[in-house]
Amino acid sequence: MSAVQAKPLRIVLAKVGLDGHDRGVKVVARALRDAGFEVIYTGLRQTPAMVVEAALQEDAQVIGLSLHSGAHMTLFPAVIEELKKRQAGDITVFGGGIIPDDDIAELKKLGVAEIFTPGAPLEEIVTWLRKRFPDG
């Protein structure tokens, strides 16, 4: 079928930490699907090591983290660290959730590529991904 791309971008979406609010991440998953990406959704309560292992096994180019628990300053950097440890620093990490501006600046310094806060239009996430991965 013509819509099927030869090399679709593969994205691991995960909820990290003790946070059961998965409505947002499901909406994002759907939007990314409709944009033609392959989304591997790994579910709730993931540890940074689990998320990174999934991205390696799935040959994903992108990890998207959703977090509403307030533990973003611990968990996001832990994912970045784990990626470095596994020599997979080339995998792009982005995040979404209720995250204050100051923290966003700090997280970006640590290597999180982008953060989307509540109210960000889905289109914005898709556009950002397309720009970053023109071939995907």
């Binding site: 079928m1 090399k7 759907r30 033609g36 392959e38 989304v39 579910g43």
Partner: protein, 327 residues
Amino acid sequence: MSGDRDLAAEFRAGNVRGLARAISLVEQRDPTVRHLLEELRDGLRRPRVLGFTGAPGTGKSTLVDALVGLLRGRDQKVAVVAVDPNSPFSGGAILGDRIRMQRHALDGGVYIRSMGARGHLGGLSAASREAIRLLGAFGFDYVLLETVGVGQSELEVAAVADTTVVVLTPGQGDSVQMLKAGIMEIADVFAVNKADLPGAQKVVQEIRSMLNMGPKLAWKPPIVMTVAARAEGLEELLEAVERHQQHLETTGEAAERAAERLKDEAADLVGEWARRQARKLLDDDAELSRRLLDDRVPYAAAEEILTTEGESLVPRAARSRHKMKSR
């Protein structure tokens, strides 16, 4: 990780990223993967391939997850290939089979790969067979292959797996459904999952009477009741699968099937390569395409391409000096 050489080195070193990358190449139908597989072929060892198929929501992923646990308990290295559909409109997909298997995420003896079917019909992805070959070369003892949630006629899994488990649940329809051709005929083992729900015993009886109606088979598919979410009936299921594998070995069917599979695969590759090149040729060769349009039917053009193009029907990236051993 760029280039063939790095990939082969990563793969040989047992780096999971090398494996994942190689599987992506077969998913992308990248013909260069042949060089890697040819390099590895002396070490190729076919893993035991167990296929799991059934309608959406019958519990295939949960069953696979539970069996992974059981096989790990026996110290077997297990890979899971789980296929989900892609959207025919956007090409995108939500691959969600991993959710049920996350307890194995950090077990180095387990590899889980989600695949989009990417427009391939039949319940699997076009890459499934080559992915199995790669997983065997990487050292996995078992590959558990989970199809998309199927209807009645996505039967490809039976041609790829050694043992096909058809997963049914209570409440899926009356006994006439059992008589229909298709999925009910490809089972080597039946799993009646969610067997704690009312009607499970009836499903078992209906399968049994369906089997008794047909001709006497050399292998009569056993029926196992399972409650995958509570890990019930799994030992029995694995035991039934193992009996089937034993049957394949003792009757010589295993070798026969392996030969059939390789013949199918070579023939499919002829189709895939030739089709790709032929389409390109028809786009590029104005003279040829004009004659095709004048002719109004496709036969003469197809014949001309096959008889005159020969070797150039092999994609450039797939060409190599490797020839088969002659005896």
